[in-house]
Symmetry: C2
Subunit: 292 residues, 2 copies
């Protein structure tokens, strides 16, 4: 991959910080500039050597920039792109790491219409239990999927550049339409997060919450791991993708209504049928898609 | 611990097989007899050295038995106890490994009323993704909780014996009433399993299930790990504990109704409030209760 002279990362947390570390380790970046709303987090990123420099504003950040990664929660992307617009130079390629794509692309059309050839939206399917730059690590994207959702206006060379940058992080590249992306991830990511947050919140409110939690074991640990996610990031994802997410939630509520009816009538065969199909599907998935 | 001369395990799967392996490794058992409905599974257990002998029936199994562990799915325990009753000798101490306790205790009172002093119900809080004797291992109970729910009629020496046997497997002992046990585990174990089975079943039914599963990542992997559980075992647990489980399911449906209302109105602050409380509670739990 052609070396990036000046890389700008907006939002240097787990996602942005891990890209910085990965590209540095791959030796494909010369200078990394961090920008964002939290100076505390930016200072930590600079102390840790994740970024070389902290920009005071977008004018400074974007001067001579080769590549920009916007890795903020998706709720901030509209404002970030509005702020970038006046300073974006014609050579600069831009991508984002948002978990939703339709809302991000709406913001791109609203603010970056002069740069549509070189703004290529993407979504790395990677995360960790902890958030923040302190949790960043260079191998976060190793073997993970990154979905690129190009715009019709994109220059093929810019798409290739974005794919190459993620590839240098160790990721495996996929391509989808933004609509398809948002439907798929509502089902396999956004809904499970909503459900896990909901279960922990439900139990945490009880008078005997301490007792309940003290008997929770490894099943509970794994089921609720994703309830350790970043509240603001997940708020933004749920709001941005709420149309698809509501569709998924309602399908799931219909599933729970069926399970509830089986429980009410003590229909063991009905329950076992669902549990058996679920186990088979889950085992087949694990067989095919899990490396560990 | 005083050595067990003859140990009888009814249902030699993950749970029963792991007890056999643990007690053998601890050197506290002389002879282990397996009994159960699946001769295939019993033969595998004998080949693997998990049991020494397969009993043809309860008369043979219980003759001279010191200790009996019933480790079948809870739906079979009524029939197992009815079959044991005519052959149970006065010295034999009995426990079970059922994940529900009120229904098992009802079966004890129905069939083993002559032996109430020495039938001490218990529940090991341990499991694994796979079931069957092939998945059994000697350290399954190491550091795990076992809840004993003694009967008022229990001989204190028999309670001590059951605690000592689980202790020899490496478990940490707790004691609760059966009612309290069933309420607690409906919340922290049975409901999460129902929810995970439901989600996988919901997605597996879709026309685009293959595509959905192909983008499922580590969050989905952990959230649905418990959907790999044994369908019959979980059917029995759900049916046996359906009163408490329905209460938990309805509380959770109320939580989902709240989340749904926030999604419908795009109330980001409402969502973030729930997510934040859930994350804090989950992190506090992990801090206090997880060793890893």
């Amino acid at each position: 991959m052609e070396t990036i002279g000046k890389l700008v990362i907006c939002g240097v947390g787990l996602i942005g910080g891990s890209v910085a570390l990965a590209l540095r380790e791959a030796g494909v970046v010369k200078h990394i500039v961090g920008i964002g709303r939290s100076s505390e987090s930016l200072l930590a990123a600079r102390s840790a050597g994740v970024v070389d420099e902290i920009a005071d504003g977008w004018s400074e950040a974007l001067a001579g920039a080769d590549f920009v990664l916007v890795a903020t929660p998706v709720g901030q992307m509209d404002a970030v792109m509005a702020a970038m617009a006046p300073h974006l130079e014609p050579q600069t390629v831009v991508t984002d790491a948002g978990s939703t794509k339709r809302d991000v692309i709406e913001a791109v059309y609203r603010h970056l219409d002069a740069n549509l050839a070189r703004v290529v939206p993407s979504h790395p399917i990677a995360g960790a239990e902890k958030s923040g730059v302190g949790a960043a690590f260079s191998t976060l994207y190793q073997g993970r999927k990154v979905v690129v959702t190009p715009l019709p206006e994109n220059d093929p060379a810019a798409i290739e550049r974005v794919r190459a940058v993620w590839g240098a992080c160790g990721a495996v590249l996929y391509q989808m339409s933004p609509q398809e992306h948002d439907r798929v991830f509502a089902a396999v990511s956004h809904l499970p997060h909503l459900l896990a947050f909901g279960l922990v919140h439900d139990l945490a409110q009880r008078a005997n919450a301490e007792q309940l939690f003290s008997y929770a074991a490894s099943g509970f640990r794994d089921f609720t791991r994703i309830a350790g996610g970043h509240p603001e990031m997940w708020r933004d994802i749920c709001v941005a993708n709420r149309q698809a997410l509501l569709g998924e939630l309602d399908a799931y509520l219909a599933e729970l209504a069926l399970l509830r009816a089986y429980l009410m009538s003590g229909d063991g065969a009905g329950l076992e049928g669902i549990f058996g199909e679920a186990r088979d599907a889950r085992n087949a998935w694990a067989e095919k898609h899990l490396n560990n």
